[in-house]
Symmetry: C2
Subunit: 173 residues, 2 copies
DNA sequence: TATTGTTATACTCTATAACTATA
DNA sequence: TATAGTTATAGAGTATAACAATA
């Protein structure tokens, strides 16, 4: 009850500019991914995550992370990517319940095709108008916010329905 | 050809943090809008835009702006909102081709219901971890970027298919 | 001819619930 | 019983192209 219910002029202005930039950036990134690699943004994130993983493999649940918010949604995307030959799926040797998703060479190739244009979009839209000081400031502020978000997982603006578990991911629940 | 093809470590870090924050913020905002007002994010933006317009009215094309990227998409949303009684549609007296979309009292009521929680989400996720200096810096940087985006309308990372017209909006074209 | 908007249609994506199988 | 994942299904949203009407 300590904080004002309204946002200050400065906060409002920051929020509007932030959403405008993020919407436009997202839209242009999606277009580039679709045009160059026939990938949706979610698919790109999944492939990129696999690309960063050791051996290009992850369990379904670990692959989901912040990218997808329902189990079935991930299954759908994994199927799509598998049909295109960009990933394979196989039961995990460790835990027969788990499915390991693995990036194929074709998957890596698509990632490689898509990266340069992706970076070009980000540079042209986000960084082109900023000097190095601005970038540093932006990095510091965004990193602080994201750290705060990780530390305080959103209670969905309400504050119920929390499990006590520690497991890596319960998707949405 | 003057700029490097890669992003610096600092830029990468800023970009990752930025997308993480914007994705999470977007997701939580969408959830709040859905739970409280049964609105999608796009619908909320359309209503909010009408709320800011004089008389609560806008032509379809002017309503679209950065919110929707295809004519048919806007028609679909306007229909949905009209069926729920949140807006009305009527031919413009000035130009018989145009449709004026007008916010109803019910539409304003839904906006009023949704605003406080919306602000609470934005505060809790975006501003809670920032001091006033951070907010000022964020505002300055985001405003600069958005100004740059407005001045240099994205060529969709390619550079073709541009009309010469000045008209307010050709949607995507 | 250009502009404004709608319609028809197809497709992508997401979420919920019921289900199977393993731990 | 809890966890991992799939399937069935339904619904929301988007885009393209063809269309009608007005400027």
């Amino acid at each position: 009850m300590s904080r004002p219910a309204q946002l200050s002029q400065l906060e409002l202005s920051a929020y509007f500019a932030f959403t405008e930039v993020s919407s436009l950036l997202r839209h242009e990134v999606e277009k580039q991914l679709r045009d160059v690699g026939k990938l949706s943004y979610v698919q790109f994130q999944l492939l990129a995550r696999l690309g960063d993983a050791s051996g290009g493999s992850l369990r379904m649940t670990d692959l989901a992370d912040g990218v997808v918010y329902s189990r079935s949604g991930l299954t759908y995307q994994a199927q799509t990517l598998e049909e295109r030959g960009l990933v394979t799926r196989a039961p995990s040797p460790d835990d027969e319940r788990s499915t390991m998703v693995t990036l194929t060479d074709a998957g890596r190739a698509v990632l490689a095709e898509v990266f340069p244009g992706h970076i070009a979009v980000v540079r042209g839209l986000l960084f082109e108008s900023l000097d190095e000081g601005d970038v540093g400031v932006l990095e510091r502020v965004m990193t602080r916010v994201s750290g705060h978000l990780r530390a305080n997982p959103p209670r969905s603006a309400g504050g119920r329905k929390r499990k006590s578990g520690t497991s890596s991911h319960d998707f949405t629940g």
